[in-house]
């Protein structure tokens, strides 16, 4: 099966990314947009574009009916959901199938099994993938929670089973804190995710967030494309990512990669996916969650492997076997990505939406910019604050850092505040340069 036309059910830089991949493959593109996004770049680049609702995401980008309406009436063969929005919505995947439109991603079943975080952990345990010590599934009541927490040892994390992406997480330092927070956590989860189930995990310190990119076809083949270190986080949102991870040995890489592939096969996965692990200083790694979609930071993996992940997603969704074997995957050089957001780092990263005046992205060898911005474009306050992803590649980590600093310095964005000054400082920070920073790095250090 060859796709003739794909609908991109997303916006911003990822919509542009997907349109670019389709263009190169000779596939027609259909963009959708909310009224607020009328002037977006993805709307201009697509072959066709349709307004699907007013500003609010729930009425536009999450408007299943309008999206399917566009997809069917424009005779799309497939839908690419990008990340966020409906990317991990099993219902959406199912509706696409019932309309005879291919959802470019895994099956609704795989999405469900990995979307329920506590169920995912159970699946991983059965697949022989190490997991963080914690409760066996959802905690039913307070007594059970207290008992389990005593067994694991404090501090303990309370996690929403329907959460993900850093949301729905609370820390309990002791029993008193646990008792106080657990009911709140359940209520919050119910409201935010429609599912009040929470589970407990041991709170580990000195951990790095190391995730493994996998891609699988619909014929049972799954390969991993190496890892990404995403430990530079602020309030659990990633700011900088790099591939490979500075502290990983080839043996550990192979072990984590194999675990990731086992995990994917355990749920008959197809498409691109990411296994997130916590890596301890002792080299012990633990499964955290699986994201059944393409991720924001996928470019760094593309830079070090030479694989176009979006095109490969389309390739496997068409029913083809993977274009390469595990042996053919080679990690070459070093790549770093900085997320340039419309936020003021001097004012606690306060959002800074507004109209971009002068705009000049950096260039030169080994520099890539994934963005939906352009001079005169307005970053609206309704969606995320991302302006651009700045990605570099160089033969070594040291050179990649130097290149990123050079590129950041050239990157001119006028009219709004950006996190570029923050990234400049970060890239010079001793701990970052050493490479052994953990996920508490930004919390515990002034940058």
């Amino acid at each position: 099966m060859k796709f003739q036309k794909i609908l991109i059910a997303n916006r911003g830089e990822i919509a542009v990314r997907i349109i670019r991949a389709c263009r190169e493959l000779g596939i027609s593109t259909v963009a959708v947009y909310s009224e607020a996004d009328r002037d977006s770049l993805h709307v201009r680049l697509a072959d066709e574009a349709y307004c699907v609702g007013p500003t609010l995401s729930k009425d536009s980008y999450l408007n299943l009916t309008n999206l399917m309406s566009v997809a069917t009436l424009t005779e799309c063969d497939a839908v690419h959901p990008g990340y966020g929005f409906l990317a991990e919505n099993a219902d959406f995947a199912e509706i696409c199938e019932s309309c005879n439109i291919t959802f470019i991603g895994p099956s609704p079943d795989a999405i469900n099994r990995m979307g329920d975080k506590s169920e995912a952990k159970r699946t991983m345990l059965e697949a022989g993938v190490p997991v963080i010590p914690g409760s066996d599934g959802i905690v039913e009541d307070l007594d059970e929670a207290v008992k389990i927490a005593r067994g694991i040892g404090y501090p303990v994390i309370i996690k929403a089973t329907a959460g993900g992406g850093g949301k729905g997480i609370r820390l309990a330092e002791d029993e008193e804190s646990l008792v106080k927070q657990i009911t709140n956590a359940q209520q919050e989860a119910e409201k935010a995710f429609g599912n009040g189930g929470v589970y407990l995990e041991k709170y580990l310190t000195g951990m790095k967030h190391v995730e493994v990119q996998i891609i699988a076809d619909r014929h049972g083949n799954a390969v991993h494309l190496g890892e990404r270190d995403c430990s530079v986080q602020r309030r659990r949102q990633k700011l900088v990512e790099e591939a490979p991870c500075p502290v990983l040995s080839p043996e550990l890489r192979a072990e984590m990669g194999a675990a990731a592939v086992r995990a994917a096969q355990a749920v008959n996965y197809s498409g691109a996916g990411t296994l997130e692990f916590l890596l301890g200083q002792d080299g012990q790694f633990y499964f955290m969650e699986m994201n059944t979609r393409i991720q924001v930071e996928h470019p760094v993996t593309e830079m070090v492997t030479g694989v176009d992940l979006i095109q490969e997603m389309i390739h496997v969704a068409e029913g083809n076997p993977l274009s390469f074997t595990q042996e053919e995957v080679k990690i070459n050089g070093w790549s770093i990505e900085c997320r340039v957001n419309a936020e003021d780092p001097e004012r606690n990263f306060m959002p800074s939406p507004g109209k971009i005046g002068f705009y000049l992205p950096p260039g030169g060898p080994g520099v890539r910019v994934d963005s939906g911005a352009y001079p005169g474009y307005t970053i609206s306050p309704y969606y995320d604050s991302m302006i651009a992803k700045l990605i570099v590649w160089a033969p070594t980590r040291e050179e990649a850092i130097a290149k990123m600093k050079r590129a950041l310095d050239e990157f001119a964005i006028e009219g709004i505040h950006t996190t570029i000054p923050f990234h400049m400082r970060l890239l010079s920070h001793e701990t970052f340069v050493r490479g052994d920073f953990d996920i508490k790095f930004l919390e515990e250090n002034e940058v």
């Binding site: 072959d47 349709y50 307004c51 609702g53 309008n66």
Partner: protein
Amino acid sequence: MFKLNEIKELIQLLDETSVQEVEIENEGSRLVIRKPGKAETVYVQAPTAAPVMQQASQPAAAPQAAPTAPAATAAPEVDPTLHTIASPMVGTFYRSPSPEAGSFTGVGEKVTHKSVVCIIEAMKLMNELEAEVNGTIVEVLAENGQLVEYGQPLFLVKPE
């Protein structure tokens, strides 16, 4: 020779009609005014001795290449007193309840708040659209069977 204010008046007159082109010859002078829709050019040619005066007025706002959504976005100015009925969803626009039946409404017809003016079909569900104003239909802006997007103008209504 045409005087400047005469030429101005002529252009203004032309603007108020749907006439596309006017050519006038008078006392050896030839004036051509042409409206191709996107640009207006005015040529004035005087006989031999006098220097040839050529005036080209600026082309109307340059359209952009975007071959995107249905032409609705490039609509000419709408009379502000008229009410626009816009589509609240993405779907197929139907003017009648079924292929054999007559249209719900049309130009010159009266509508009330609750009058059904059209059907938007989305995902096999027929959604009846109500006028939501009392008035008279002045223009129908979409074609039967056309894909309409969210916010696309469908009818112009002169409110009571």
